[in-house]
């Protein structure tokens, strides 16, 4: 793909990934076939900051886990009232990393 398109993609979507993942993503996108560009453009990534806010407000109900696609963990969190509060606290610190990981997985599915 054209370098300009790849850089534009990274500028608008860079915050959805870990900083150390950006260089490999760029390399991978540059090697990618032009026909995949429309699919990549339509990908919807979860914003880690939004998920963190949800986790702070409704973490004990497991809403944050539902939003990033971890339905099983979300149900577990809901039933245990956020692991009696402990799980909720842990997720305040982990959910942003998990969200970026999910975004990376979503992108990788297209890139593979």
């Amino acid at each position: 793909m054209e370098a300009q398109k790849v850089d534009m993609f990274l500028m608008s979507n860079g915050k959805f990934f870990e900083t150390h993942q950006l260089a490999p993503i760029r390399d991978r996108l540059l090697q990618l076939d032009e026909s995949k560009w429309p699919i990549i453009q339509t990908l919807q990534f979860k914003d880690p900051t939004t998920i963190l806010i949800v986790s702070l407000l409704a973490g004990s109900l497991g809403i944050d886990r539902f939003l990033i696609g971890d339905t099983g963990l979300g149900v577990g969190k809901l039933i245990t009232c956020g692991g009696l509060g402990v799980w909720t606290i842990i997720d305040w610190f982990m959910i942003m990393g998990n969200t970026r990981e999910k975004n990376m997985n979503a992108l990788m599915q297209v890139l593979m």
């Binding site: 150390h20 606290i89 610190f93």
Partner: protein, 144 residues
């Protein structure tokens, strides 16, 4: 407690996650008071959540976990001694007061050490605690 060179220079994302392990244990201490096991459970869960992380992150999660583990034994004994004084015929003795004084000193020292380490680790520095650092070096190994 001193800053030592790590086997590699940790990246920004690693420093953030490693620092979070200490910050999370601080929040868990405050949220879990007076039960001494809450922060250990929280640190353990955080450690398990990051078990596939990089060496730097795993190393600091392990150090945070070990420090909380030692606190558990000290605090649990103090907690149940206090409970027995409140709810049974046990009397407050000089031994009890001396023990509680030591528990408070140990907890306050751990609290400030954790804050200090969280700040330094966030800047990418590798802080090894006395005793716990050596123990962590023995337990936590880089992936082959």
């Amino acid at each position: 407690m001193q800053a030592k060179p790590f086997v590699y220079i940790p990246g920004e994302h690693e420093a953030e996650k490693a620092s979070n392990s200490y910050l999370m244990s601080l929040i868990a201490i405050i949220a879990g008071l007076p039960l001494p096991i809450i922060n250990l459970l929280a640190t353990l869960a955080f450690f398990i959540g990051n078990r596939k992380g990089t060496y730097f992150v795993r190393w600091h999660c392990t150090q945070a976990l070990l420090s909380q583990l030692s606190l558990l034994f000290i605090n649990s004994f103090g907690f149940w001694w206090t409970v027995s004084i409140i709810f049974s015929d046990e009397k407050i003795t000089n031994h009890y007061l001396a023990y509680i004084f030591c528990v408070i000193i140990f907890n306050v020292a751990d609290f400030f050490a954790t804050i200090f380490t969280a700040i330094k680790t966030r800047k990418g520095l590798h802080i090894e605690w006395f005793f716990f650092g050596t123990l962590t070096n023995l337990i936590c190994r880089p992936k082959k």
